[in-house]
Symmetry: C2
Subunit: 280 residues, 2 copies
């Protein structure tokens, strides 16, 4: 975290901070902490995404408990009935990165628990999908389907990111391209890797969806104090150093003028390029 009040040549610098309070009440701002502190059992998974600033030691301290058990994928999938059985009589917490159900994987254990008559509850979390409109200034209601660019499987590239982006663009919708993360293998796709894949897809398909002059937005470490967002044409994106993961990419459709202005101010977008993309 940066310091609260920065001083510059003796003058105190100000700041304008927007805080989302969540959906229901002011309690949302501390609900997660209270529940995690008082639960009977607490599990932590960090294989569905990476939280770059997460420290288990600090988490233990924050929750004031030293019994946080880190689980593997198999504990919540093949072997899920152990935890489900515990939740028959105990309050069991599963901590996840981001929002628990943006990755679809945890729905299986929830549905199995519900089928056995166990009450389930969600303390919703902040997700990359709704952080992006705030980071970029793109309008939240103008996003189409989201897609993940995956590492080539046996040398074979999935063309799904191409098709999804093409369909979204045809409907004048922005596309979020999430980048493959394989925490267990320690592999994190960077924006540079992803642009290489998009260029390869373009050379296969040749329909101009990922041409060199396509405006794209790169975002690194959303939600962190040192997040980075830059908008530029695709062929320039590879030259930008985004630092450590996680990274993602947004492909904007034609822009409202307030979106164009936001991209210039917030993401250093080249003015002449974004202004040409504004729909009258």
């Amino acid at each position: 975290m940066k310091e609260r009040n920065v001083k510059f040549k003796g003058k105190r610098m100000g700041e304008l901070i927007f805080i989302g309070m969540g959906l229901y009440s002011e309690k949302s701002m501390r609900e997660a902490l209270e529940i995690a502190r008082s639960a009977d059992l607490i599990y932590l998974e960090r294989y569905t995404s990476i939280m770059p600033g997460l420290s288990i030691a600090r988490l233990r301290n924050l929750l004031n408990r030293d019994d946080i058990v880190e689980v593997k994928r198999s504990d919540l999938e093949e072997n899920m009935y152990k935890i489900i059985d515990e939740a028959q009589s105990k309050q069991v917490v599963i901590l996840t990165p981001g929002d628990p159900f943006i990755a679809t994987t945890h729905m299986a254990i929830r549905i199995e628990a519900e089928k056995k008559g166990i009450r389930t509850r969600i303390i919703h979390g902040v997700s990359i999908l709704t952080a992006i409109p705030g980071i970029t200034g793109l309008h939240a209601y103008k996003f189409g389907r989201t897609v993940t660019i995956t590492f080539p499987n046996g040398g074979r590239l999935s063309e799904t990111p191409y098709d999804v982006t093409k369909t979204n663009l045809k409907c004048n919708l922005h596309t979020v391209l999430l980048l493959d993360i394989r925490v267990e293998e320690g592999r994190y796709m960077t924006i540079r890797d992803a642009i290489g894949i998009l260029e390869e897809l373009e050379s296969i398909r040749g329909e101009g969806i990922f041409s060199n002059n396509r405006l794209v937005i790169g975002i690194a470490r959303a939600g962190s104090p040192d997040y980075k967002v830059r908008a530029d044409i695709l062929c320039n994106m590879k030259t930008i150093d985004f630092g450590s993961p996680p990274h993602c990419i947004v492909v904007p459709a034609p822009l409202h003028f307030t979106e164009a202005e936001a991209l210039i101010v917030l993401a250093k977008a080249p003015k002449e390029i974004v202004m040409r993309m504004v729909v009258k």
Copy 2:
């Protein structure tokens, strides 16, 4: 909030709780509180949405300050420069419902502040848009464009919800229909009101997008301890009592079988109807 450990006939009932930790670090779980407590100036807006459980008295208590100023729309729009000027030298917090930038309205003051060289920061919040996949079990990456059903303007209905849903369905994407909220006028559209509008649009357009047997999902008070979610065909939806606002509607596209199962278990969807919607 319901009680932590419910006892039923002497037997302690368990619970399975999923907690999203946010994007960056375990600090996300208390970041909003710390910043709001220590800021120089703190403003609260509650005109972009309603948080049904929000109590100003409890908020003051939670943040341990009695100087929270509630602002009107004009304070953050026409008269935004007063707050921008304050942020030149002070740390100024604006508290908003949900996520600060899902409604597009606050981007203007942020961009104006940035243009004047003022640092801006976002503490992202939980949004209805990413709460919905968790509540319903629908896959997050299969949602298309979001649209708001607005109150008729001088008797005239906007057909945009019809067109957006039609396009999303054509692309096999789910649609979130947000319902108009006019906090200043004390008007909140209910699911029943909205279904009436969708039926009227259907009678105008006649393309079967909102026919009587269309499966729709109603959600009330997302994020609250007494949220309600029900899936049924459109003509039955009006008979369900969803209670107090805010409400929203989801129109699902063809379903993955795990989505169908989730709707049956979590939203009491009629089994035969959702199973017919499963894509093989």
